[in-house]
């Protein structure tokens, strides 16, 4: 009987992570405007909260939020079963068990990452949950906890829980330290190990394996999808929600997707008005929308306006429109200025005190345990991406190039100027080309040495091919691009014009 009507299959190629205090229903409704298909998760709800208080408060949602999964926190099979039945009544598409949040073990309600040490108990929980629903029951966990972080232990965990019938595992590619680190530090300090999850998929091909942790954009999602069944993005999607705009097209093969961040805001109108009428405060909705205009001129004023005004009595739809009036996106594409397509991911070429301080302080605890300073390098790279405007979302490496020059980009009234540091390369060895709106600066640095190969005491320089690419704004006149080079600095001048040329074009570098 049970199997006659099967619930629809949940598509997990891309999902948004459950995040306490962040992915509440307002946030989810907003994110839904950016992608029709991305799977959304609720914040974690503990069995205690659900069974002993009014479940409506935790379970109600807007019907447009589907596909939607409920995440439960708990470790008592009977209670989890009851909560799972509630989830069925509320028509959630999936019920997920949290085995990833590092919570204090002393607390009486045990849940989260500490359960990784007890696979048999998790298996029991999963069985009890599965018996209470026909919908998929999934588990979100870490790759390990404390010293128990071997691959063997991880695969034993997955095997035991899979034996209880769990088919889908969402794995955060970090282990968790149950003591000594705050939950926030536990999301940042332990190093990311995506390879571990790839290996898990290779060893359990019949299971659905979803990768999570540190994924910054759709390019990375596409890459992960070659190895695993799905990817889950947390913080990046919250801070820069517009990155989801292309998800329906790029991940789910659907032509849908919002046309601009502005259009997303306008889509929110009836929801905002209904919610305000029900007694919600504007701020509770708009606090999730602050990152929408990331990278667009006026974004800061938008954020400030909302932060200051949305909390006031009487704040309403007009407040949102007023905030949006600060945005200067007319007649420009979403990314209005010239911007590098590829970040330089080699050892930091530029470094800030701030990045150093933040990274080391954050790593103090890990270092105490591992004393491996090399993992810091990764952290640095990430810190830079965060601290440097325009870098956060370009993370792809240029395959086959050895190094990448640092650049300054300036916009003047009538042109853009790119200045790139390319010391030790003659103009003849530099290639600048322009095709389909992408400007590429590339070439090769050869060693000028006349000396013998031995005798080097110090080599910090990089040699070989280099490349850097830039997306051009539409108003650049491709025919008038010129370049010159002096003292190791190449200057490319890109005059603005009305029309844009699509012909491949080669630019010669003048020697200065």
């Amino acid at each position: 009987m049970q199997d006659i009507i099967k619930p629809p299959v949940v598509d997990r190629r891309l999902s948004i992570a459950p995040m306490l205090d962040w992915t509440d229903r307002h946030c989810r409704y907003f994110l839904r405007q950016l992608s029709r298909h991305v799977l959304l998760y609720t914040e974690m709800v503990t069995t205690g909260a659900l069974l002993h208080r009014d479940p409506e408060r935790f379970l109600d949602y807007h019907p447009d939020e589907h596909p939607l999964a409920l995440q439960l926190g708990g470790s008592e099979p009977g209670e989890l079963a009851r909560c799972t039945r509630l989830a069925g009544e509320w028509d959630y598409d999936e019920i997920n068990l949290n085995v990833g949040c590092p919570s204090d073990r002393v607390q009486s309600g045990r849940f989260g990452a500490c359960l990784m040490a007890e696979p048999a108990l998790v298996a029991e929980c999963v069985s009890a949950m599965r018996e209470s629903t026909r919908r998929p029951v999934t588990v979100k966990h870490r790759i390990g906890i404390d010293e128990r972080d071997s691959y063997d232990e991880l695969s034993r965990f997955v095997e035991t829980v899979a034996d209880a019938g769990c088919r889908t595992f969402i794995v955060h590619a970090r282990k968790a330290w149950l003591q000594g680190l705050s939950p926030k530090e536990n999301r940042e300090v332990p190093p990311l190990r995506h390879e571990t999850i790839y290996r898990l998929k290779a060893d359990f091909p019949e299971l659905e394996i979803i990768i999570n942790g540190g994924i910054l954009g759709l390019d990375e999602v596409v890459r992960h999808l070659e190895q695993v069944d799905g990817a889950m993005i947390g913080r990046a999607a919250y801070h820069d929600p517009w990155l989801l705009a292309a998800a329906d097209r790029r991940i789910f093969g659907d032509s849908a997707g919002p046309s601009s961040p502005r259009a997303v805001v306008l889509e929110m109108q009836s929801y905002v008005e209904q919610e305000l009428a029900r007694g919600s405060r504007l701020h509770h909705i708009t606090r999730h929308m602050l990152g929408l205009f990331q990278g667009v001129p006026g974004a800061r004023a938008w954020r400030r306006h909302l932060s200051e005004q949305a909390n006031r009595p009487g704040a309403g739809w007009q407040t949102l429109l007023d905030a949006m009036a600060h945005i200067d996106d007319r007649s420009r594409p979403h990314r209005p200025f010239l911007r590098p397509l590829v970040s330089r991911k080699i050892i930091p070429h530029f470094i800030c005190d701030k990045a150093f301080n933040r990274v080391t302080r954050r790593n103090a605890m890990t270092l105490m345990k591992t004393s491996n300073p090399w993992s810091l390098l990764d952290e640095f790279n990430r810190e830079f991406s965060r601290m440097l405007p325009g870098f956060a979302d370009d993370d792809s490496r240029v395959v086959g190039s050895n190094w990448a020059p640092a650049v300054d980009i300036k916009e003047e009234d009538d042109r853009f100027v790119i200045r790139a540091d390319i010391p030790g390369v003659s103009a003849d060895d530099i290639d600048i080309s322009m095709e389909k709106g992408v400007l590429t600066i590339s070439g090769e640095r050869k060693h000028e040495a006349k000396e013998d190969k031995e005798g080097y005491h110090r080599i910090e320089r990089s040699f070989g091919t280099f490349m850097r690419r830039f997306s051009l704004p539409e108003n650049v006149d491709a025919d008038k691009i010129s370049a010159s080079s002096k003292d190791g600095v190449v200057e490319v001048s890109l005059p603005k014009a009305v029309k844009q040329e699509d012909q491949p074009k080669k630019i010669t570098v003048k020697n200065g």
Partner: protein, 162 residues
């Protein structure tokens, strides 16, 4: 409480050690650029404020029987902007990298290059005669040729195989 303190102190010590290790292995080239608030135009002051305070001055040190050769990648300078000194087998290269004089006002959108005053110190593998040192600056690379002192040349007689 005091053990927590100790742990944190120890962690910091290790961070320092780790950092030093990292610096010495991978990032010797990391150089601090000090911003002096002397720039005249508002645009240039703005630019300075947004530029990173650290830049990489990648170097290369080569030694043979006669001399030590040092190359330093530091594009966008004038030859006069450098100061080179040798004190006790330590080479000190300092200078001031100025923000490019631009013909027009504008807004900087991306700033990855570092500007300002910098100083880079490098231990030399041998004693050199700084009075005979030569420097050239071409394509953004500073090349220093530092002849060894007679004493060094004598001391470093290669041992023949056999």
């Amino acid at each position: 409480m005091s053990s927590l303190r100790q742990n944190i102190d120890r962690a910091w010590a290790q961070v320092q050690a780790g950092w030093n290790n990292l610096v010495s292995k991978a990032s010797n080239a990391l150089t601090h650029f000090v911003h002096k608030d002397e720039e005249q135009s508002a645009e240039r002051r703005d630019l300075l404020r947004s530029t990173p305070e650290w830049g990489l001055l990648a170097a290369e040190v080569h030694e043979d029987g006669e001399q030590v050769t040092v190359r330093l990648e530091i594009p966008g300078m004038e030859a006069d902007d450098f100061d080179v000194e040798v004190i006790d087998r330590t080479l000190i290269v300092s200078g001031h990298k100025h923000v490019e004089n631009s013909r027009k006002e504008g807004r900087y959108r991306i700033t990855e290059c570092a500007y300002g005053e910098f100083e880079r110190r490098m231990p030399l593998p041998a004693e050199v005669d700084s009075s005979k040192a030569e420097a050239s600056y071409e394509r953004g690379i500073l090349t220093l040729t530092l002849p060894k002192t007679e004493r060094e040349k004598v001391r470093r007689i290669p041992i023949a195989n056999g």
